[in-house]
C-alpha cells in the first residue's frame, strides 16, 4: 500500500501546480484583452491627434477641398469623394464578376478539377501584395488602357465622369486595380455562401421542373444573399482602406474633378503620400482624415458582421 503511494509522487496537486494553472489562465486572459486594448488604443490615439484640426475646421473639413499647407487651410473633400467613388464603383464592377465566377466554381459546367484550378487562381491572386499590383499597374496596365481612355473621352466625354482629357495616372486606373484586388474577396465569400445553400433546395427546384438558371436566380442566390452581402461589405471596407496600389496609380491630386480620367486622391493615398513629410497643423489634419477613414471602415465592417450574425443558420 505505502509502496504504491510512493510511485505516484504527484498524486496531490501541489500548490505550485495550482498556481501555474491560474497564472496560465490569467496570462491568456490578458493576451486576449490586448486585442480590445489595441483597438481602443488606435481609435483614441487617432481621435486625440486629430483634435486640433477637428476643433479648427469642424465638419467643414469634410466638405471643402482646399488642401494648402502654405496657407494652412485644410479640407479633405477631394480625398473623401475619391475614396467613396473609387471603392463604390470598383465594387459595382466586382460584384457581378465575382458572383459570376463563384457560380462558375459551384455549378458543374466544367469538370471539377478545372473549377478547382480557377478557385485556387483566384485565391492566389489575393496573396499578391498590393504594392506589386501597383508596380504592375504603372508599367503594364496603364499603357494597355491608354488608347481605350482616349476613346472613352472622345465618345463619352459628354458624361461628367469621362469629361476630362485622360491623364497618365487617374482614378479610373485605380478603380480597375481595385477590381483586381476585390475580386478574390467577393468570389471566395460568394462561393462559400453558395456552397452552404442546402442541396435539398436545388432538388426541390429541379424536382418541379425549374431550369438551372431559374433555380440559381430564384432559389440559390436568394438563399445565399446575406452571405454574399456580408462579403460585399467586407470588400467595400477593404476597398476604402486599400492604399499602395491606389496611391501608385491614382495620380495623387487634390484638385477636385468629377472626371474619372483626371488624377484623384483617396484618404489612404493622401496619408501614404504626405504623412512622412508633414509637420505642424498638417499632421493633425492628416490624423483627422485618418479618423474619417477609420470610422468609414468601422461602420462598414460592423454592419457586415451584424449581417453575418443576423442571417446565418436560417435553415
Amino acid at each position: 500500500m505505502e509502496e504504491k503511494l510512493i510511485l505516484f509522487k504527484n498524486r496531490k496537486r501541489f500548490g505550485i501546480e495550482k498556481n501555474i494553472d491560474i497564472i496560465f489562465k490569467n496570462t491568456t486572459l490578458v493576451l486576449s484583452s490586448l486585442v480590445a486594448i489595441v483597438l481602443f488604443g488606435i481609435i483614441l490615439v487617432v481621435f486625440f491627434q486629430s483634435f486640433e484640426s477637428f476643433s479648427r475646421y469642424g465638419l467643414n473639413f469634410l466638405v471643402t477641398s482646399e488642401w494648402n499647407p502654405v496657407k494652412d487651410e485644410y479640407g479633405a473633400f477631394t480625398a473623401i469623394y475619391g475614396t467613396l467613388v473609387t471603392s463604390l464603383l470598383s465594387l459595382l464592377i466586382t460584384i457581378p464578376l465575382g458572383v459570376g465566377t463563384a457560380i462558375f466554381i459551384t455549378e458543374d459546367f466544367v469538370p471539377k478539377f478545372v473549377r478547382e484550378i480557377v478557385g485556387s487562381f483566384v485565391e492566389l491572386l489575393a496573396a499578391i501584395p498590393s504594392v506589386v499590383l501597383g508596380l504592375w499597374a504603372i508599367f503594364v496596365m496603364e499603357p494597355f488602357f491608354r488608347e481605350f481612355f482616349v476613346f472613352l473621352h472622345k465618345f463619352f466625354g459628354w458624361i461628367p465622369l469621362f469629361s476630362s482629357e485622360p491623364a497618365g495616372r487617374n482614378s479610373l486606373l485605380a478603380i480597375i486595380i481595385l477590381v483586381v484586388m476585390l475580386l478574390p474577396i467577393v468570389t471566395s465569400i460568394a462561393r462559400d455562401s453558395l456552397n452552404q445553400v442546402p442541396k435539398k433546395l436545388r432538388n426541390a427546384s429541379y424536382g418541379i421542373g425549374a431550369s438551372r438558371w431559374k433555380t440559381i436566380f430564384s432559389v440559390i442566390l436568394p438563399a445565399a444573399l446575406s452571405g454574399i452581402m456580408a462579403g460585399v461589405l467586407l470588400a467595400l471596407g477593404r476597398a476604402m482602406g486599400e492604399t499602395m496600389a491606389v496611391t501608385m496609380i491614382i495620380g495623387n491630386s487634390n484638385v477636385f474633378s468629377w472626371s474619372l480620367l483626371s488624377p484623384g486622391y483617396t484618404i489612404s493615398s493622401m496619408l501614404a503620400n504626405q504623412f512622412g513629410e508633414a509637420d505642424g497643423s498638417q499632421v493633425s489634419s492628416l490624423f483627422y482624415a485618418a479618423f474619417v477613414l477609420m470610422i468609414l471602415s468601422l461602420v462598414v465592417n460592423i454592419f457586415a458582421q451584424w449581417l453575418v450574425k443576423k442571417f446565418s443558420l436560417k435553415y
Binding site: 494553472d21 496560465f24 493576451l31 491627434q49 501584395p129 504623412f275 477609420m294 457586415a304
Partner: protein, 297 residues
C-alpha cells in the same frame, strides 16, 4: 415534334445558355489578372536576378548606370517580419487559447471575437498612423524616430487578428473527448492545453500563422512612415532602432522613380517577394489538403 425534346429556341434554354456563357466569361476574366501579373513578374523580374542583387546595397536614384542590389531591403523584410511575428504570435496564440479553451461562448469572448474581426478590418495604413503617433513622433524608443522596430510593431497589429482567429478556430476543431480524457486522468488545464489540445491543433494553427506571416511580408502601407527606408546594410543589433528598408517599400519607392535602373530593381524585388509568397501559399494549400485527406481516412 415530341414535346419532351430539347428545344433550342425556347426562351428558357436560350436564357440558360446565355447565363452559362456569362458565368464562364466572368471566370475567365477573374483568372486573367493572376496570369498576367505573374507572367510579367517572372519575365521582367526574373531577367534582373543576379548574384550581386542579393549582396549589394541599392544605389541612390540618379546614377542611371547601375542600381546596385537589394540586400538591405531583403534583410530588412526578414528582420521586420520576424519582429512582427515575435510580438504577434505569442499574443495571438495566447489570446486564441483563452477564447477557445477558457471563455468558450461567454460574453467576454463574444466581445473579443467581435474586436478581432473589427481589428482585421482596420485599414493597414491606420496601423502605420497609430504606430507613428505612438512611437515615431514621440521618440519613445531610445530617442529614435523611424525604425525597423516601429515597422515590426505596425505589422504585428495586422498579424494579430489572423493569428488569434486561426488559433481560436483550430482549437475549436479539437474534439472535446480529448480534453475530457486528459482532464479525466487528473491533468491540469494548462497541461491539457499545452500537451494535448495545442499539439492536436498544431497543423492548422501553423498553416494559418505561416499564411499570416507571408501576407505581412508584402505589406507596405504600415511601413512607409514607421520603418521608412534605408540604403545601407544592416550590420548590427542597434540598426533595429534606425530607419530600415524592406522589399515592399523598395518596390514602392523605386517604381515611382523616373530612372529605368531603379524600376528594374523594383521588378527584381517583386520577383523575389511574389515567388516567396506564392511558394508559401501553394505549399500550405497542398499541406492543408493533404492533412484533410489523412484525417478523413
Amino acid at each position: 415534334m415530341n414535346s419532351l425534346y430539347y428545344q433550342k429556341k425556347l426562351s428558357r434554354n436560350v436564357g440558360d445558355k446565355f447565363f452559362t456563357s456569362l458565368s464562364v466569361f466572368c471566370a475567365l476574366i477573374a483568372i486573367l489578372p493572376l496570369i498576367f501579373v505573374v507572367t510579367y513578374i517572372l519575365i521582367k523580374g526574373g531577367a534582373q536576378i543576379t548574384p550581386e542583387l542579393f549582396t549589394l546595397e541599392p544605389n541612390p536614384p540618379g546614377d542611371d548606370l547601375d542600381a546596385g542590389g537589394i540586400n538591405p531591403a531583403l534583410i530588412g523584410t526578414l528582420v521586420i517580419t520576424t519582429i512582427a511575428s515575435i510580438i504577434a504570435i505569442p499574443v495571438g496564440v495566447g489570446g486564441g487559447i483563452y477564447l477557445a479553451e477558457y471563455s468558450k461562448g461567454g460574453p467576454f469572448s463574444k466581445f473579443i471575437r467581435f474586436g478581432v474581426n473589427v481589428l482585421a478590418g482596420v485599414p493597414s495604413i491606420i496601423a502605420g498612423v497609430f504606430i507613428y503617433a505612438l512611437i515615431v513622433s514621440t521618440k519613445i524608443l531610445f530617442g529614435s524616430m523611424y525604425s525597423g522596430f516601429a515597422g515590426g510593431m505596425a505589422l504585428s497589429i495586422l498579424m494579430l487578428p489572423t493569428v488569434i482567429k486561426t488559433t481560436d478556430e483550430g482549437l475549436k476543431l479539437v474534439p472535446n473527448e480529448l480534453r475530457y480524457a486528459s482532464l479525466g486522468i487528473g491533468a491540469s488545464m494548462y497541461t491539457t492545453i499545452l500537451k494535448i489540445t495545442l499539439p492536436t491543433a498544431f497543423r492548422s494553427i501553423a498553416t494559418g500563422v505561416v499564411l499570416g506571416i507571408a501576407r505581412a511580408a508584402g505589406e507596405t502601407a504600415p511601413l512607409i512612415f514607421t520603418a521608412l527606408f534605408s540604403y545601407y546594410y544592416i550590420v548590427g543589433f542597434e540598426d533595429l532602432f534606425y530607419e530600415m528598408g524592406s522589399l515592399a517599400v523598395l518596390i514602392y519607392n523605386f517604381a515611382l522613380e523616373p530612372y529605368d535602373a531603379q524600376n528594374k530593381l523594383a521588378w527584381a524585388a517583386s520577383f523575389i517577394l511574389v515567388i516567396s509568397i506564392l511558394t508559401v501559399n501553394i505549399f500550405s494549400r497542398i499541406f492543408a489538403a493533404f492533412t484533410e485527406k489523412t484525417k478523413r481516412v
